[in-house]
């Protein structure tokens, strides 16, 4: 993978000097994904389903093929691949439909402080409404979920295990390969937040054997406005829809109706057509780049950056051992929002804040962090510049009295 060449595929990286280190929030959009959506809007911008004229048929074909492409990407079946508004919406669907209908006050839900708000608040609600207990896996001293600690909280009462695949703050990978079989021994189902995994990892839902999994288009070179819910066929077959209306039913009578089969029963109304077609193109691009190659590249960059950062006085790195491209850090004594303006002046895009993961920020006992996330289109030169700017920023803030 040649990151310099790859930059050419991203309009924003060719039109201005920009070191984009905020991929964990949203990835940039490659030309070909933009072009694919343009094709939809200029050549066949019509509704899918029930359209028997040619351009509508074309839209339906492309839309259907898009789902298959995305299903194949994670080794799921077509019927197991549901389009949603985003990862957050997909994770809510699991909690609302599975959680509210299957849990009782005797049950336990295992979560972690590494979860994104979108994978913790839905289960807080389920706990509130069903009386089930929310149990946090104790994190180890680095802030990781370990199999050992997971075993300490797993019990006969465990009914749901809701864990992130990769933390969006710490960049740690959860040992799901070990955790999922343990959970299944207790007949618990496992919901995986793969929003940070899909852009960087080959996900194989069959091998992983998770019960549900969710991710978002905009983090994996795709468009905004779309996400994916994966669920095992036998679970989705039993799940109640959460939204009702057009396209999700076979038959409507005055006082009742019959749902279609999965995935359609979960998708009422006009679907995100341009978005699905765009996301499929992003998936093809990712497959050509090879997720493993992306991950190796970003880890190399991150490694190089971390090694430089930990040598610097006045800089604290919270996750030196992360196994992805994410670095959580701070300039000592400088509020991240002050710091980020400095980086911005130097055309480096970083994120500052709690990253929608306040629990791990509280766990770190800081008000907020800076986050640099490296991706396929970042280069070794980007790392060098980044480190130089960290030093300059630190010196600047010291000089003005921070």
């Amino acid at each position: 993978m040649d990151a310099h060449k790859l930059k050419q595929c991203f309009p924003i990286l060719t039109s201005q000097p920009l070191i984009y280190l905020d991929t964990a929030a949203s990835s940039l959009t490659p030309k070909r994904v933009i072009a694919t959506m343009n094709e939809y809007y200029t050549e066949y911008p019509v509704n899918v389903h029930r359209g028997v004229y040619q351009i509508s048929y074309k839209a339906t074909e492309r839309y259907t093929a898009a789902r298959q492409t995305i299903a194949d990407f994670i080794n799921a079946d077509y019927e197991e691949t549901v389009f949603t508004r985003g990862a957050s919406s997909a994770l809510n669907l699991i909690a609302t439909s599975y959680g509210l209908n299957n849990l009782t006050a005797n049950d336990e839900i295992i979560v972690s402080e590494l979860e994104h708000h979108s994978h913790i608040l839905p289960w807080q609600q389920v706990a509130k409404k069903t009386g089930a207990k929310l149990i946090y896996v104790p994190l180890n001293s680095e802030g990781r979920i370990t199999t050992e600690n997971f075993k300490k909280v797993l019990s006969d009462q465990t009914k749901v295990v809701a864990l992130t695949y990769i933390s969006n703050v710490m960049g740690y990978q959860t040992p799901l390969e070990e955790i999922i079989p343990l959970a299944h021994q207790k007949n618990a189902i496992v919901s995986v937040d793969a929003a940070q995994a899909a852009p960087h990892k080959t996900i194989d839902v069959k091998k992983l054997n998770c019960d549900f999994l969710a991710f978002s288009g905009h983090k994996m070179l795709g468009p905004t406005g779309i996400g994916i819910l994966y669920g095992k066929r036998e679970l989705l077959d039993k799940l109640e829809p959460v939204e009702f209306g057009g396209d999700m039913n076979d038959q409507v009578n005055l006082y009742d109706a019959v749902w279609k089969e999965t995935p359609y029963k979960f998708e009422t109304g006009t679907p995100p057509i341009a978005e699905a077609i765009g996301l499929a193109e992003a998936v093809r691009f990712l497959q050509e780049l090879d997720p493993e190659a992306i991950l190796n590249h970003e880890i190399a960059l991150k490694q190089k950056a971390v090694e430089a950062l930990i040598k610097l006085e006045g800089v604290t790195v919270y996750n030196p051992t992360s196994e992805t491209g994410i670095i959580a850090f701070n300039l000592d004594g400088v509020h991240p929002h002050d710091a980020v303006s400095f980086f911005d002046q130097e055309n480096i895009a970083l994120r500052a804040g709690h990253h929608c993961a306040q629990l791990i920020i509280q766990w770190l006992k800081v008000p907020a962090t800076l986050r640099a996330s490296f991706y396929a289109y970042n280069t070794h030169e980007d790392v060098d510049t980044f480190i130089e700017v960290v030093k300059k920023a630190r010196d600047f803030f010291t000089s003005v009295g921070f």
């Binding site: 389903h49 029930r50 359209g51 028997v52 004229y53 040619q54 509508s56 048929y57 339906t60 074909e61 396209d247 076979d250 279609k260 359609y264």
Partner: protein, 147 residues
């Protein structure tokens, strides 16, 4: 217009207006399969009765456009009397023809040949195949149960 005339052949219209073997039979001698095409509302149920490896009867019912309804009638006429193996081969051949894939010229699709015109109308392929796919499912049940 040429193409549309090719689609609505006389044979097809005849089966549409005068469907053969229509109406379902409530008996455990039959295997039944129902398919609905959400994209256009075609809704077809097909039954088959197989004995000693021979398709003894095929029945169908449902609603839909002329292509969909007539093809169920044509299917029934063609299949009755075939053995399971040739019934499957004919089905494959028909589906290949509609999808514009290579076909076995030696197999006689009889009236079903009239559906050749459908391949010019990709949006109508589902209409022409739904009954045949339902039939194929019933065949599969017969084989799975070792008849």
């Amino acid at each position: 217009m040429q193409q549309l005339e090719n689609l609505y052949r006389q044979i097809i219209m005849d089966h549409y207006k005068n469907p053969r073997h229509k109406g379902l039979i409530d008996s455990d001698r039959y295997r039944t399969h129902h398919i609905k095409n959400p994209s256009c509302g075609d809704d077809i149920t097909v039954q088959s009765a197989v004995k000693d490896g021979i398709v003894k009867d095929v029945r169908h019912d449902g609603s839909g456009c002329s292509i969909c309804c007539s093809s169920a009638s044509v299917l029934a006429t063609l299949m009755i009397g075939q053995n399971i193996d040739s019934a499957q081969k004919l089905t494959d051949n028909y589906l290949n023809m509609i999808m514009n894939r290579p076909v076995d010229e030696n197999l006689d699709l009889e009236d079903a040949l009239a559906y050749q015109g459908v391949k010019q109308f990709p949006a109508r392929i589902k209409c022409a195949t739904i009954a045949w796919k339902a039939f194929e499912q019933t065949l599969k049940e017969w084989s799975d149960n070792d008849e």
